[in-house]
């Protein structure tokens, strides 16, 4: 895209983009670390990941302020307006993903106090899918790639399906090992939510790139075939 005539404005937009990317990469790392800590019962990594959430929270505040300043001082329009409003909303989803990573760490710390439990094999699969979706959503934001963003949205159903499969298996385990099963179920729910936030981000990216609001359109109930 052509550069702004006002280079200071261009710098402000570039800086906003950099800060969103930094926040995105920190959140991605938090989810990766949280899942590693969960698998390896690594309480040190879990605690370090919990501490990292503070940085993500601070970045959310900083990005919000940058967006408000840009809106107030530059009165952005068209693609700039879509970029700034997308950033403003996107950080909320990123911050929540950070919170979900801390939730996984909290469950990991609780599980570490008990004997090792068998991890449902669908949970790592869910984690992989959710992390890939998050990475692709952020990459689609960086590259303004609406096609890639749409592909993320379509993959949310895979994570939902995996969670639906995990649920009955873990519910059964509630009888014999209620505390562990409850915590594993929670981790499954957190991962399912990470995928939901990745989907939200991807939908925002479609809007940012194409100006089309695709929220609530991908999961429309299809009419029954007659």
């Amino acid at each position: 895209m052509t550069r702004h005539t006002d280079r200071e404005y261009a710098r402000e937009l570039d800086l906003l983009r950099e800060r969103v990317l930094l926040m995105g990469s920190k959140v991605e790392a938090m989810v990766g670390d949280a899942m590693q800590a969960f698998h390896e019962r690594d309480t040190q990594l879990a605690r370090a990941t919990l501490r990292a959430d503070h940085e993500v929270d601070q970045l959310e505040l900083e990005i919000d302020e940058r967006c408000l300043k840009l809106l107030a001082r530059r009165q952005p329009v068209a693609s700039d307006l879509r970029f700034i409003t997308t950033s403003l909303k996107l950080v909320t989803d990123l911050e929540r993903v950070g919170d979900l990573a801390t939730n996984i760490c909290e469950r990991t710390l609780e599980l570490s106090l008990e004997p090792p439990v068998a991890i449902d094999p669908r949970l790592p699969r869910m984690a992989q899918l959710a992390q890939e979706m998050l990475a692709d959503a952020l990459n689609s934001f960086v590259q303004s790639d609406a096609q890639r963003a749409r592909a993320v949205v379509e993959r949310d159903a895979l994570v939902d399906a995996a969670y639906a499969e995990t649920f009955p298996a873990l519910t059964q385990r509630m009888v014999t090992e209620p505390d562990a099963a409850q915590r594993l179920l929670s981790v499954g729910r957190y991962l399912e939510r990470v995928a939901d936030h990745a989907t939200n981000i991807a939908e925002m990216v479609v809007f940012m790139v194409e100006g089309k609001d695709v929220r609530h359109t991908f999961h429309a109930v299809r009419p029954m075939d007659s």
């Binding site: 895209m1 052509t2 702004h4 005539t5 006002d6 329009v77 068209a78 693609s79 100006g211």
Partner: protein, 282 residues
């Protein structure tokens, strides 16, 4: 509408007539009423082509903003809409401008009468300096030779219409130029409205005004939209975004994009529009 010379009269504004509903009671969406329409409009000064074939329908009782960089032809365009371009030496207009379907450039059409139907407000407030506030309001009517049976009533009505009455009612005999810039501009709008135009052209009406005076004029534009078709030329894109229903982007004498204002300022279709409104031009 008859644009051919006739005895000028002061008439009551035409009331809005609602289209009869379809049989069975269901309201059918009616096609938008086009008030003014440029058709392959070309304008030049001598050999310099300023407008290169603009075709643009303007819907009745809406506000249309015309934006674009300096020299893009936006002011020339609005000056063609009420036959003011041709007044300049060497100025030539080709193509058609239809007001309610009638070509204002038709052979039998009186340009003075056209300008009564299509009023204009300029960048710099231009009240007649030797005339009082009330005489400024009546100036257009008197210059047209219109008999005004009840001038005080016309003055009050038009000054109220532009929200100036309360500010000037105790000094109607004062000079029009004794008012502030914003008040002068509203006085000029009142003077245009006294002629009961159907279309109001505004060429940068707020560029000489402070933000409060600008807000008052914009508020007035919102109110006038109920009865008048307004075309506003502005360099201030936030103003276009605030007041206009539709926005046209002109570049080098051509109409690049013409769409709902919301669309132009959130997701324009043309790269040139995008670059201009986001400040990535040149």
């Amino acid at each position: 509408m008859n644009l051919e010379p006739a005895e000028p009269v002061v008439t009551a504004p035409t009331p809005k007539v609602k289209a009869p509903s379809a049989p069975g009671g269901a309201e059918e969406p009616s096609a938008p009423e086009v008030k003014l329409s440029a058709e392959d409009l070309r304008a030049r000064f001598g050999t310099t082509q300023v407008l290169k074939g603009i075709s643009m329908p303007i819907e009745a009782r809406t506000v249309t903003a015309v934006i674009g960089p300096s020299g893009c032809g936006k002011s020339t365009f609005v000056r063609c809409l009420n036959r003011m371009h041709e007044v300049a030496p060497g100025a030539v207009v080709e193509g058609r401008v239809l007001l309610d379907g009638q070509d204002i450039y038709g052979a039998q059409v009186d340009p003075v009468l056209v300008r009564r139907h299509i009023g204009m407000v300029f960048q710099k407030p231009n009240p007649f300096p030797t005339l009082s506030i009330q005489d400024n309001v009546l100036a257009g009517l008197r210059l047209n030779g219109t008999r005004v049976p009840n001038p005080a009533e016309v003055v009050e009505r038009r000054l109220r219409q532009v929200a100036l009455w309360d500010e000037v009612k105790d000094g109607l005999d004062r000079s029009g130029t004794s008012l502030s810039g914003g008040q002068q501009q509203r006085l000029c709008i009142a003077r245009s409205l006294a002629l009961e135009p159907e279309v109001l052209l505004m060429d940068e009406p707020c560029s000489a005004l402070d933000p409060i005076a600008t807000a008052r004029v914009e508020e007035l534009i919102h109110e006038l939209r109920a009865d008048y078709t307004i075309v506003i030329v502005t360099h201030n894109m936030q103003q276009a975004a605030r007041v206009a229903d539709t926005t046209a982007f002109f570049y080098m004498g051509e109409l690049v994009e013409y769409d709902q204002t919301d669309v132009i300022f959130t997701r324009p279709k043309q790269r040139k529009t995008e670059d201009y409104i986001t400040g990535r031009f040149g």
